[in-house]
């Protein structure tokens, strides 16, 4: 049995709209106009123990709604969801004792207290046996290099230091499932690498299942073997990174550096314009339709090209094109 089973989840929000003007504000106190927004529209997937899954999608696509349902703090309108044999929202307290959640944007640590005090409070809140807590703490302190931070008040930590402490805080009770919501947002390059390395070790060595939502494609490339893409409440794509790429037929990106930054561009058959920044123009093309050599020859004839290079279509572009396709549909 999979650790997480989700079948046909549906969730609709009622969003109240404000009417303009003073009279509208008064009316708003009595009755509100409501608009219904479908956040989840039949979402199904399974996740096995020890998987490391990226869950991505544009803002408002239903990512956080799914995570809320899986973590037991939101009741869906329809569908089935079983995590570790439990329906999360029916047994919230038993369920949340088994999971860890980290929000990159906000900390769960006590702002004015030294880090270690927060860890002790969490021990008491989660009712972790002191010896087990000690063991977990020692291990996390070593892995995340927290020793010098333990006695520092949280408000004095840098963002990267805080994120490392937040990761530890979410794992002190030894959860088997970890939700990470944009864990690398706003971090400097060194901190990002440290966080990624830690997540990877946690997943490999402790078999903790990790569900990662992020906008940072480097996180995904570095960490995840499986990517689920959600848009407008539906799963668009679920598989390996490789599978996601093949959806676009192994497209390549050709970047040109033109001699004239103002040269007018003519649409090139068999290519899609990805973007232009002054003299730099990027195109996507499928080598099965038009070979690189042919394309370069044609472009070289039309423009004064100073430099050019071909590379695999970056995952950002793949995802962006997926979102575009969906929006156009």
């Amino acid at each position: 049995m999979a650790q997480i089973e989700v079948e046909q989840l549906v969730k609709t929000y009622a969003v109240s709209e404000r009417r303009p003007g003073l009279w509208g504000a008064v009316q708003g106190l009595v009755r509100r106009r409501q608009r219904r927004v479908k956040a989840l529209d039949g979402v199904s997937f399974e996740i096995g123990r020890g998987e490391l899954v990226a869950y991505i999608g544009p803002n408002g696509a239903g990512k956080s709604t799914t995570v809320k349902v899986l973590s037991g703090i939101l009741v869906p309108d329809g569908g089935r969801c079983v995590v570790e044999g439990r329906v999360p929202w029916e047994e919230r307290i038993a369920h949340v004792a088994q999971i860890g959640v980290v929000f990159g944007q906000r900390t769960q640590l006590w702002w004015d207290l030294p880090v270690v005090d927060s860890f002790e409070l969490l021990r008491d809140i989660y009712r972790v046996e002191p010896p087990r807590w000690r063991r977990n703490l020692d291990e996390l302190v070593a892995l995340l290099d927290l020793e010098p931070l333990l006695d520092v008040p949280v408000r004095q930590l840098s963002l990267g230091q805080r994120m490392r402490c937040d990761l530890a805080a979410a794992l002190l009770h030894g959860p088997s499932l970890l939700f990470l919501d944009e864990p690398t947002i706003g971090l400097d390059a060194v901190s990002k690498l440290a966080v990624r390395a830690f997540i990877q070790r946690l997943n490999r060595e402790r078999q903790v299942t990790v569900i990662l939502t992020t906008h940072d494609m480097d996180d995904i490339e570095a960490l995840c073997d499986r990517v689920m893409v959600i848009a407008r409440g539906q799963i668009l794509c679920d598989g390996s990174l490789e599978a996601l790429r093949t959806r676009f037929g192994h497209q390549r990106r050709l970047t040109l550096e033109l001699a004239d930054p103002h040269a007018p561009l003519v649409p090139e058959p068999g290519t899609a314009l990805l973007g232009r920044e002054g003299a730099r123009v990027s195109l996507a093309f499928d080598p099965a339709e038009v070979t690189a050599a042919e394309l370069i020859g044609r472009l070289g004839a039309r423009y004064a090209v100073r430099d050019l290079w071909v590379e695999e279509l970056p995952i950002e572009e793949v995802v962006a094109r997926l979102y575009d396709e969906e929006a156009a549909a």
């Binding site: 969730k11 929000y13 009622a14 708003g28 106190l29 709604t65 809320k68 973590s71 037991g72 703090i73 939101l74 009741v75 929202w89 919230r92 307290i93 038993a94 949340v96 004792a97 999971i99 959640v101 929000f103 906000r106 769960q108 006590w110 702002w111 004015d112 207290l113 005090d117 409070l121 008491d124 809140i125 989660y126 009712r127």
Partner: protein, 266 residues
């Protein structure tokens, strides 16, 4: 760790955080003391001008004033966490409490214990002690027990009001200030004996919010004065229980609010 010990621990943490900003806390406490002190100065000035209030003396009013301010200060100091609920819901921070394996009411109760309410508390105590001494009713164990029972009932009721106010935030986070009518308005009301008010008004503060039960009636028993409105002595002594019932009702409402929050997700 059991719930009661965890609550004490969380509140201890809140106090420690506040002690890091000691100067600011002292200022706020002094400010609070002055504000409530000035209110009582106003009461005194009115008695100086009019001699009495509908047959009540300044000492009697001081006891009412003391009881309600001590109770409100205790509830307000311990129930500040519920004051944060609306803001937490707006910012999405309430979710964090749901993600922890403990009751949400317990966690919210543990968010904050405000030390600066000590200003109002000491002010109330001073009024209470002066009033009771001026009335010369004595300090037997029975009276002290009754006083403690009154404070428990009234504190529970005010705490319950804060829980209700926080619960409303699950439905709307706008215009919550209206609840101040019942909290601060209730304090202002209960500083004077209920019999001075009009009947419809007394009903609101007896049946909607049991303010009359937790402050007015038992204080009559405390100062040994028969109720001009005719409530028997035993009823005066039992009345503070209404505060506990009110708090229990408020907590039930809170659970309903949390259920609504998790089903609408707003």
């Amino acid at each position: 760790m059991n719930d009661a010990r965890l609550l004490v621990r969380l509140l201890g943490v809140s106090m420690r955080s506040q002690l890091q900003y000691r100067a600011s806390m002292v200022m706020q406490s002094v400010g609070h003391l002055l504000v409530t002190g000035i209110e009582f100065l106003g009461v005194w000035a009115l008695f100086a001008r009019f001699g009495q209030l509908d047959g009540w003396t300044l000492a009697e009013v001081a006891v009412f004033y003391g009881v309600v301010n001590v109770s409100f200060a205790l509830a307000d100091a311990g129930g500040r966490g519920f004051d944060q609920v609306a803001a937490r819901i707006k910012q999405g921070d309430f979710d964090r409490l749901l993600l922890r394996p403990r009751s949400t009411a317990l966690q919210v109760a543990g968010l904050e214990l405000t030390l600066k309410r000590i200003g109002r508390l000491s002010q109330g105590l001073a009024g209470l002690i002066w009033g009771l001494s001026a009335l010369g009713v004595g300090w037997g164990p029975g009276r002290v027990a009754l006083l403690a029972w009154i404070v428990v009932g009234a504190t529970s009721m005010f705490y319950g009001l804060m829980v209700v106010q926080a619960t409303i935030a699950f439905w709307t986070t706008e215009s919550l200030e209206l609840m101040n009518v019942l909290t601060y308005g209730g304090v202002e009301t209960a500083q004077y004996p209920m019999s001075v008010y009009r009947r419809w008004f007394r009903r609101v503060f007896t049946y909607v919010v049991p303010l009359a039960c937790v402050c007015y009636l038992p204080v009559l028993a405390l100062i040994e004065r028969p109720d001009p409105l005719g409530a028997p002595l035993w009823a005066q002594r039992v009345a503070p229980a209404a505060g506990l019932v009110f708090l229990a009702g408020a907590l039930a409402l809170w659970r309903g609010g949390v259920r609504r929050y998790t089903s609408t997700g707003s």
